[in-house]
Structure formats: structure tokens, C-alpha cells
Amino acid sequence: MNSKFKLAIISLTSCAGCENAILNASPEILDFLGKDIEIVYAPIIMDSPPPSSVDIVIVTGAVRTEEDEKKLVEWRDKSKIFVSFGSCSCFGGIPGLANFFSSDTLLKYSYLKQLGTINVNNSPPSNGIPNLTDYIKPLRDYVKVDLYVPGCPPPNTLVVNLFKSIISGEKFTLSKKSVCDECPLNTGKEKVISKMRRWAFSKVDKDKCFLEQGFICLGPATRGGCGARCIKAGYPCRGCMGPAENCEDQAAKMISAISSATSIEEVSTEDLTKLLDLAGTFYRFTLPFSIFKRKIRRG
């Protein structure tokens, strides 16, 4: 194709880490950025008027406000390929954990109760800001999504593959393996956990499988493709790539993995009841994407 692909990057409620990840995928990205693909609209990176239509739109962040909802529908209409980029837009991500609370509670907490907040009016602001949505939902619940690029932020190889596949017209696929398959600490032998440990209170051996040492590592339930980057940096997997292929729910898979890997003689059932905040740990990035979805009772 002779003409350049026009690319827009739209940020909803996000931390701007995904935009950094796109720009960070150098030097490979320099091969096609500006040649085959041109960024025409990206408020977070540059100043330009919004175009009437684009070829590709990359949407980052979760839908938290009514403004986000409108933006989403508008850009779906303007684009040919709609890319859900990053864990927040694919699964709800970290903002998705707010589904444990109602939006009223959230507003009241951050505007009235949070430490260091002085609120003269004694009420959350009512005008000038968009309203919060009731729940955080993944983008696919609002609009048709063409491509998913998970990760927090998506790894460089995925970003490069995404652009390459769009230019060449090939199908963009995610890894079908789990993080454990890519993990350098995976010996391939059966894992036996002999003691449950907590990260802050125990000595860590960075050359031995974290799960086997008793730390919670979401590797078995998480989609690969990231090259086990957290584990290579000496930290257990937190599950940002979302559920692995043929795994619907990360928590269910993790409970299954931990309960069958713990040694029956050495780990007592009491040790397992001491594990804290299972929903927050296992659904760290995927609460709105989990099996109960929005059907959780909220505080």
C-alpha cells in the first residue's frame, strides 16, 4: 500500500504508561513510524486538531467517566481498526479494582475522607467534571474491538508486532502459552510448595521458582508474550497479561494451582486461610473481566 496508515492514540482514564510503551518500542518502531504509519492525533504526545477519520485508533485506559464513554463511541465510528491497548482497556486493569466500591463511596472517600484533603464545601464537586460511570467495564462491552493488546504496559515485542501485522495485513495473534512456559525459573519438574511465605517478611531466592518458594506468583494463570519480564527482574508475576488461553478466570486457575501444589504434609489448611485479599491479588488486573463481572456486592 502506498498511502500511510493514519493513527490516533486516545487516552481514557489511564496513567499514560501505555503511550510511553508505544514510543518506547524503539529502535524497531522507527522503521515504520512516519514511513508506513503516521500519528495524526494523540493529545498526550502532540498538539493537533482531531481528524474526521483515521485508519487505526489505539485506545488506552479504562472507561471511568461518562466523557470516556462518549469518546469511545465517537472514535469507534471514526476508525477502521479499533485497538484495545493495555490491560485497563482490555480487562479493566487497576482502575477496575474500584468495582469493589460504589462510585458514591469512591467520590466521598477521595474528596472528603482521604488524608490531607481539606474540602470547604464538604461535598464532592458537582459541576465542571464528568460524572463517574457506575462500574468499570472492559471496552468490548461498549463497542466492537478489533484487536486486543494486553499488558501493563504492553511489552515492546507486542507493540512492534501489532504495527507490523497492520502494515503487512497479517493476523495479529497473542501468545497461547502461559507466563510459566516462558519463565527462566521454570525447571519443568512438578512444583511442591512446602511453606507459604509473604513477600515483605521473607528472604527471597531469585533463582528459584517463586511459587515453589511459597510466594504468590500468577504465572500459571497468566497469558505469556511478555517474556516473563517481571520474574527476570526478580519479582513474581502479577497477572497483567490477563487470563491465559483456555482459562476464563485467573482466580479459579490460581486457586487450583496453589491447592494442588501445596504439600499436604507440610502446609496446613490454616496457612492457606491466612492468605490475605485473594480477590484483590488474583484479579489485580482483571476484576471487571472475571467470571462474576459486575455482579459483586460492593461496600
Binding site: 479459579a252 486457586i255 492457606l272 480477590a279 462474576f292 455482579k295
Partner: protein, 136 residues
């Protein structure tokens, strides 16, 4: 007002729980009809996904009955399920569902009466708790 009749999914292991249910039937013991029995070869075969799906589709309670500790036909299946259920209870509590709706209990192949009692007690408890809020 119509009386609340709970829907309960029950996973029974082939060697103990199901045999106990069979015996309870042969002995013509009475127990509530609310339990929908699913036979599995071992309770260790039950994936947490099965239990979560049951709740998601509107079950008011899930009852799992396996062999007594040490009696598992496959040596450790029931220990593993005990752990799964413990962690699932903690997860369900975080998600706002009463963890008493999930129970793991034991009944050997000869304990038809114990089986009937477990089921009766469980159904009574669920009736007291009322319908699950996940019900559509």
C-alpha cells in the same frame, strides 16, 4: 407468598459421596429434593471454575461431598479439594457472597444416614440465608 426453594448443585465423588447417596436412596431415607447431584470420579477433579460457574448461573449453594480424610480412592484428592474450598470461601467473601453457601463435607460409602443429614442441614441453612444475590 411462595416458599423459597433453593437450587443447590452438589458434586459427589464416585467412591464415597455418590455411593452414600445411592445407599440413602436404597434405604428410602428422606432428604430435600433441592440438590442437583453431579457425579465426579474424585472431588479432586472439581475445578474452582465449576463452583464459580454454578454460583454465576444462579445456584444458591454448592455442596461437595467426598471421602473421609485418608480414605480417598486416589490418595490425596479430597485434601486438595479441602484446600480449594477454603481458598474459594475466602475469595467469595471478598466478592460479597456469603461463604456459608459453599460446603465441603465427608461421607463414606456406608453412611447413607450421614449423607441425608448433611443435605438436610445444608438446605436448611441455605433457606435461612435466602436466595443468592447473583440470581438472575
Amino acid at each position: 407468598m411462595q416458599k423459597f426453594s433453593p437450587k443447590i448443585v452438589s458434586f459427589l465423588c464416585n467412591w464415597c459421596g455418590y455411593a452414600a447417596a445411592d445407599l440413602a436412596g436404597t434405604m428410602r431415607l428422606k432428604y430435600p429434593v433441592n440438590v442437583k447431584i453431579v457425579r465426579v470420579m474424585c472431588t479432586g477433579r472439581i475445578d474452582p471454575m465449576h463452583i464459580l460457574k454454578a454460583f454465576e448461573y444462579g445456584a444458591d449453594g454448592v455442596l461437595i461431598i467426598g471421602c473421609h480424610p485418608g480414605d480417598c480412592h486416589y490418595l490425596t484428592g479430597n485434601y486438595k479439594t479441602e484446600r480449594k474450598v477454603l481458598m474459594l470461601k475466602s475469595l467469595l467473601k471478598d466478592l460479597g457472597l456469603n461463604d456459608e453457601r459453599l460446603e465441603f463435607n465427608y461421607a463414606s460409602a456406608g453412611e447413607g444416614e450421614r449423607f441425608a443429614k448433611i443435605v438436610t442441614d445444608f438446605v436448611d441453612r441455605i433457606i435461612k440465608l435466602g436466595p443468592s444475590f447473583l440470581k438472575r
